[in-house]
């Protein structure tokens, strides 16, 4: 099933490391400004728009080569 991960900019490196560590390096990241918690509704709304656009961009991105079959 297609999947994506919403994360904030402060956790980008951690998200990249975890994608690699879990064997899903191409899992789309929907990056939003940090932080999300503590933001007022205007800030959350702006981040929701960022995430939605990132999702659309990820879908529009050229398809990557298929991964090699598992042993």
């Amino acid at each position: 099933m297609p999947a994506a991960l919403v994360t904030t900019t402060a956790f980008r490196t951690l998200a990249d490391n975890e994608r690699q560590a879990k064997g899903v390096p191409d899992l789309p990241l929907l990056m939003i400004d940090h932080p999300l918690g503590g933001e007022k509704i205007e800030g959350v709304t702006a981040r929701a728009a960022q995430a939605a656009q990132a999702l659309v961009d990820a879908i529009a991105a050229p398809a990557r080569p298929a991964p090699p079959p598992r042993a």
Partner: protein, 167 residues
């Protein structure tokens, strides 16, 4: 089979990310080292930094003192990377051609404002991008994965699943 593999990998990724957030961003490298099973040697004692009576090393077995320079005593702590080991690449599902008519699922990590983000983003996906349905499910709390029931529901009903990490 392909759907099941990817559906399982996402919550596992999320659990690991949350653990590492707590360790690296909040607790500090000493706790991260302890989480990785750093040995706690009974004969070693925590060291305090010179002139600092508030900080103590929490991993006694990993603390040494360098007194090579006269009058300069510096504690050394071995810090382990919380990144972990690389795993074999797992099968990933092909990307969606578009969002029109699709069902999008959100697994809410219950961090502050993520529920609001889901509400706003879900509305935008429906109204602007033609998504047919949005399913919003919450985990018990941020430190645990989604329940098998939620994962099964997502795998059965959704075309795309989005989860969250971070604050």
């Amino acid at each position: 089979m392909r759907s099941a593999c990817t559906a399982i990998s996402v919550p596992l990724l999320f659990q690991a990310v949350i653990r590492l957030e707590c360790l690296a961003a909040r607790c500090g490298p000493e706790v991260a080292a302890a989480w990785h099973g750093a040995p706690l040697l009974p004969e070693a004692r925590p060291k305090q930094y010179p002139g600092d009576h508030t900080r103590q090393a929490l991993v006694p077995g990993d603390v040494t003192t360098d007194e090579s320079d006269e009058g300069d005593t510096m504690a050394k702590i071995r810090v382990l990377s919380p990144a972990g080991e690389l795993r074999a690449r797992v099968l990933q599902a092909p990307p969606l051609p578009d969002l029109r008519g699709k069902t999008v699922g959100f697994i809410d990590n219950r961090k502050t404002n993520f529920d609001t983000l889901v509400d706003i983003m879900g509305k935008a996906l429906r109204e602007q991008y033609g998504v047919a349905q949005v399913i919003h499910r919450q985990k018990a709390h941020a430190a645990v994965g989604a329940t098998p029931e939620v994962l099964a529901e997502m795998a059965r009903t959704c075309d795309l699943v989005i989860t969250g990490s971070g604050d």
